[in-house]
Symmetry: C2
Subunit: 488 residues, 2 copies
């Protein structure tokens, strides 16, 4: 593609995206295609001859868009937000245009050094401790996802507890990890990957009300496992769980971890970025004193396109110790000098993109003020929705309600006493709502009961979208409740 063709098609694509985002509300939020439909609409074989770019854009409209669930739709309330934003999209575009590899400092110094700057900026914005800064023995790094961050935290923990033996000799004997009933499945997946095994992930109970991990039970579990000959490696505490945005008591958990010499990782994938607001810094309680590693996702609620997870460690040595290998073809003077960071030793893969550009563009475009405003808007929307839910006799609000997530349950009078039937009705309500295309939400289970989740904080979500969604939920519920009665 020549330079002039690139300019022309580049403008087409920029316009396509601007039009797409400006007109996104015309689409059903959740894709309505059946399995196989997108594939069936595409040629079975690749083209022999090259085609113009117009065909790609035409098929994007014709074939791809119907198969898209629109995460940027302002009425997308499922999972957690996946904030895209103009500056992030353009930062990523710059990264693609430069096309550099950041595996070593030497392979493009700016790729590494800009990353050290933006992760330090973000640590400052979130009020995280000085020892997470890259000009200390700790440091931060951008990962693709919180799953990878969790995996890396386990590897660092294994390295530290084994004095490096796991890296050389592999896992020998039983090693244990600690989560609560509310922890993300990424820990179980990582346990499979690192050779610890899913059954050595010990699940600790939670406080019935807060859904926070019970530190006393954690303490007992670690002591029991150690007495039985296992090696306790890591506790994963969560700040903002996936189900209900519950917050584990990091300080109390940290005291347990310190007593037992166990690595403490905080998965703040969703909620960590909220600490840009000083009034939400309580989320970090105990982090400065006790936490070995901490991850949060600007790609969820901080206006930065996926993928952008930031992982910080209080001490980089166990992380890089677990991962650093230098074959001949990667040897270079800068690495040998010890004066530079080689981020390949902070991640699973060797190759890496210049992801710092998008976070840099976001932090500069919005500034601290703009980021706080964005978080506060999501929190305010959630607070208002939670009030509507709490005041409606047909619905029950899950409390405590945290940050931008509202969990709710319709009351089904017909099913009093039959929880399974009520849960089924709730899932049918969700399916009705999602199939309508008017909004999209997901569910979880809390104490065995189905609960609907509405995650606010989308880049384009305004109060009117939340209001409309709530009215649709209420109306759909009433229609279902009425038709069920009449059917009896």
């Amino acid at each position: 593609m020549t330079s002039e063709e690139f300019r022309r098609h580049g403008r087409q694509v920029v316009d396509w995206i601007a039009d797409y985002l400006a007109g996104i509300e015309a689409h059903p939020v959740r894709s309505q295609v059946q399995p196989g439909a997108v594939r069936a609409a595409l040629p079975a074989h690749p083209p022999e001859r090259g085609e113009g770019f117009d065909g790609v854009l035409a098929d994007l409209d014709r074939v791809v868009l119907p198969g898209i669930t629109h995460w940027q739709h302002p009425s997308f309330f499922a999972y957690f937000p996946a904030n895209a934003s103009g500056p992030a999209i353009l930062g990523d575009l710059l990264s693609s245009g430069l096309g550099v590899q950041g595996m070593l400092w030497a392979t493009s110094p700016a790729c590494t050094e800009l990353e050290t700057v933006v992760v330090d900026w973000l640590a400052e914005l979130l009020g995280l401790p000085e020892h997470f800064r890259t000009d200390t023995a700790g440091g931060g790094v951008i990962q693709d996802s919180a799953s990878s961050a969790t995996l890396l935290a386990i590897l660092a923990g294994l390295h530290r507890v084994s004095g490096g033996e796991v890296a050389n000799g592999g896992i020998t004997g039983r090693h244990t990890l600690y989560v609560s009933t509310q922890t993300h499945s990424a820990v179980a997946k990582a346990a499979r990957i690192v050779g610890v095994g899913a059954e050595n992930v010990r699940t600790v109970g939670v406080d019935e009300k807060t859904l926070g991990m019970d530190p006393a039970e954690l303490d007992r579990a670690i002591a029991e496992d150690r007495a039985a000959g296992a090696v306790p490696v890591m506790v994963c505490a969560t700040v903002g769980t996936t189900s209900t945005a519950a917050v584990d008591p990091v300080r109390a958990i940290g005291e347990v971890c310190r007593r037992h010499g166990v690595w403490l990782h905080v998965d703040a994938a969703y909620a960590g970025v909220a600490a840009v607001c000083p009034e939400l810094r309580w989320l970090n309680d105990g982090v400065p004193e006790y936490v070995d590693s901490y991850a949060t996702n600007p790609h969820k609620w901080l206006l930065t396109n996926f993928d952008c997870t930031v992982l910080w460690v209080a001490d980089r040595a166990p992380l890089t110790g677990a991962l650093a290998i230098t074959p001949e073809f990667l040897r270079n003077a800068a690495t040998a000098s010890g004066a530079v960071v080689d981020y390949r030793d902070w991640q699973i893969s060797l190759g890496r993109r210049f992801r710092a550009l998008k976070l840099w563009a976001v932090l500069r475009w919005y500034g601290a003020e703009g980021l706080r405003e964005h978080i506060r808007t999501g929190v305010a929307q959630a607070t208002e929705l939670a009030r509507w839910v709490a005041e409606d006799p047909d619905f029950e609000l899950h409390e405590p309600q945290h940050l931008g997530l509202v969990c709710l349950r319709p009351r089904w009078p017909d099913h009093n006493g039959d929880r399974g039937a009520a849960d089924d009705a709730t899932l049918r309500l969700m399916e009705h709502l999602n199939a309508s295309g008017a909004l999209y939400l997901t569910h979880t289970k809390v104490s065995g009961r189905v609960v609907l989740r509405m995650a606010l904080g989308g880049t384009g979500t305004e109060q009117r979208h939340v209001r409309a969604a709530w009215e649709t939920i209420r109306d759909t519920y009433r229609n279902m409740a009425r038709s069920k009665k009449s059917a009896r």
Copy 2:
């Protein structure tokens, strides 16, 4: 950022990239900054108030570009090519604009189904076996890197050999992996990550001439390890090694693997894409009959921006068996039906970008014809350079020379008999060349001797760039050789 601001800044960025790529030869190939220089030129603290996008672009020129090693420079011959191209950049831009998550089929069906189409297209273009297609029990998936593909192959191998026990109970007992002296360090890194341990990676010798793995030695090593009570898990054969693009004898290795029931992974990260040319399909010899998993990187030599590794498996069950966990919040009707692919179970992380768009754009823009022409251009450039090297009495060509990589060594008459001094002189020559900014190349060691590597096949590399590079190398060598003599 409003829609109109996005249009405006989007055009600025597109123009910036077009100008950058058009004027890239004005930059020194390798960045000339010292450690810390980029960081020192940026503010110590994040901005309190948002800034315009123009500041980002200004700092890109002022601060970032001097710290960039220009992988897209036509005189970049280091490592392997990292081909960017217009359609790939724009495909990635579309992915950023859509901002969807492809973790489940249900979270955006087109993201998954377009990926199944393009990996099947690519398998067809490369002449890979039918059982790698996604409409069979096998299938393909886009990963971030060949490192991840290697890691996943080991996990699938562990799953198969243990009947799923490793996923549940973790690694128990000694498990072994097999590489040659030429295999990429990704296997050793993955061995640390999966809990097998680096010392359980057995290094098998190679044929002195071809540098291909010795199947007889592999056979003995596996038998010995098994006799000693270890569990042989996986052999990694390489099609196009990082040092010299050597090709392991996959067929003979495959026979050994089959006899021992060991997983065979082929790391064709660099060379696999060359099989778009029928005359290079010998690279795939033995792949259809023997290979369990196979990875190649369109992001190296097939015009597709990083990250885009394609991993195929002959049987998806051990891979997804190793990784699949379904917490409540991810349950959905499509997954439960079994009719769809959920790619989160084919990778380490949960979240995933819509990377298929860029590969789709590339395959359509270039077509099979254009891709073949690109590969043939790189091969022709390498063949011509190799001839120049071979015909020059001051240089020695490493043979066999494969594909787009040329390995060469200057002869240093002064150092006859002192190999260490000659190697040092070769490294000094490389440093002179790289410091000049005129070209960039890297080194490796073959049979203990330093060898310079020149990887052709850059998106913008033409014959004149190769010619100029070769002349610079010769002239610099002669100046060094002359000044050394006169210094005596």
